[in-house]
Amino acid sequence: MDRKAATGQDGGPLVTLYDEQLPPDNSYAFSPEELEEDEMILNMGPQHPSTHGVLRVELKTDGEIVKDARPHIGYLHRNFEKHAENIDYQGVIPFTDRMDYVGSMGNSLTYAMTVEKLLGIGVGERVAGIRVITAELQRIASHLLAMGTYGMDIGAFTPFLLCFQQRERVLDLFEWLSGARLLYNYNWVGGVSHDLPDGWTDRCTRFLDEFVPVLDEVDSLLSHNRIFIRRTADVGVIPPPMAVDYALSGPNLRGSGHDWDLRRDDPYLGYEGYDFDVITGTGEHGPIGSCWDRYFVRVREMYESVKIVRQALARLPAEGDVHENVPRFVRPKGGEAYLRTEAPRGELGFYIVAEPKKPIPYRVKGRSPCFVAMGLFHEITRGEMIADIIAIIGSLDIVLGEIDR
Amino acid sequence: MESMAAQAIFYVVAALVLASALYVVLGSNLVHAAFALVAAFFGVAVFYVYLGADFLAGAQVLIYVGGILTLLLFGVMLTNRIYDLKIRTGKVQVLPGALASGLVFALLIWIIGAVDWGAMDTGDPGPSSEPLGRLLVGDYVLAFEIASVLLLIALMGAAMLVRRRSGS
């Protein structure tokens, strides 16, 4: 193939390099023939500023009204479950990091805990404390991203940068801890990869002290802004029964008013010993379960996470080997295990089937909360306006890496 | 009164108006025709300026270009499959139409040439907005009111017509 055609200089797309005759695109849910008079198919994504990654939403619009919306996913699919069938148990952890890439502490934590359940081993108190601290800091970082980008989706750019500033400080802490800023590979089966460095806890405390006033400020700037409330309060309402029917979890479920949090109701890592509140949507503006409720649950959860981190830092044992329980070879006796934790975006679960005495898992399935949340997208977008689609996508707080896996 | 340059500009504008009007009735692309109509309206506004009707020129631009033309463009875009850019339109009965309009034109030209209009140079008319306003709420107040009522009724009627009937 000559250079000209390959680079698309003749006006053709780059894909001519591979195939002149791509099959007719049968990935459309709506066909032009069955459109009514004023209807139009609008493709939002996969390259679009606010579909939070490579989500493609196919909209059937009538003017500004969206008659129907279908999400199309899979643009980021790399089938890590297939990879996991060829790698040993510890080796899967970096792959899990890449699921929810803005909250990867939670992923590796869940996976490591599932394998520990399979092996029947536990972790020491220090490791549990470190895991709680990192998980809650990760929740703060993830919710900051959700909050900031949600402001940007609604058109307010300033909260985005203020949130990112704080998120960067969390990432600084993680970088000091694990050497990486995004994909940490930190939680190992039976422990964590590095102990806390000297002075880390002081830095962490200082961050918490300085973070809360900033959060107050961003909150006052965005959450109770009249325009923001008007844009989000009556939009994308998930009634409580629908939330259960679609098995929503995490902030999305709590936004619909369900008082359910795994950390309190099915505690792990000693969460039962911490004092924190479970935040639920109250329907303060408009019906319960609206975009504003889901958004505000996240904002208030950050305050709770700060509380938890403070307590965890206070009671963290000074001494302890974080590699104490790390098994030399991970060879389960067989069987299967399913375990879920309260990740930033909802209940993340791993289902692992083990073959006896084999170092590699037989089957790993990741139950991703975003995938589940996207399943009800078409229900809550019907009859909304185009701008509301963006508000709804943002309020579900999806990460495409986790949906597509 | 006007300088030579002003006169030359007048004829240039006249040519522009006629050319745009020609495109409006002959051109095949509807959207282009609508934008050609903008040029025609603008030219007419220039004529008003030459005729000393400055308020009317402003009104012409405001209402025709800002209002009616935008409405027309919406009409063009909404009455077609919105994603075919090239909106074509055909013509019928070109020859009879040309004949009839040519006859009308010839008749008008003959009348214009034949009649003595008694035109006089009335000098610089000065600002027109004040006398216009006095006339509108004075001598012509009935016409003014009727026009307002007509506008209201037309708006309501239009809104009724395009209202989406439930279930259809």
């Binding site: 193939m1 990935s27 849910a29 899979g74 679609y246 399913y338 089937v353 | -």
Partner: protein, 186 residues
Amino acid sequence: MGGLGAEAIVERLVSGLGLGEGDFDTDLAAADPWVRIPGERLVEAAQILKADPDLAFDTLHCLSGVDWPKDDPPAVEVVYHLFSLAKKHWIVLKTRVPREGGCLPTLENVWKAANWHERECYDLFGVRFEGHSDHRRILLPADWPGHPLLRDWEWPETWHKIPVKPGRQMTDRAEKGQMTGVGPFD
């Protein structure tokens, strides 16, 4: 965690379905107690599990497929993790379908969350779900060859001439003097 114990749940389910001793399989001692029932009774079982006020399994938490090609008969096992928000208890429901042309009834009408999970299972395992409202692939392209999570699935060399086999495509193209799309001048 409150709610009923796994034993009571399985007992209620089995008696509700009227299954005999050999018709189902269960392991109550496992880390996650499970019960395996025949595929044709699936919808009925799901309805019992959801409607029974003591069981009240209101969420389908997870749906996974597991391929067992070496078993006799070779089958894909579909695993439903069910959870009750109201009663706070768990059960794992399993069922088996044949690997070739296997078919299960859809649970979409019981738990709406099943919709996307079943599409994913179809996409990656080739399990068909009868009565599904939108039975298309979800993650992979519509004309992707095969169902990749089956254990004997083979990587295709190319997909529409796009090299997809992991590993050597970049080096191969570089060796043949083709462009790799990497670097400032490529």
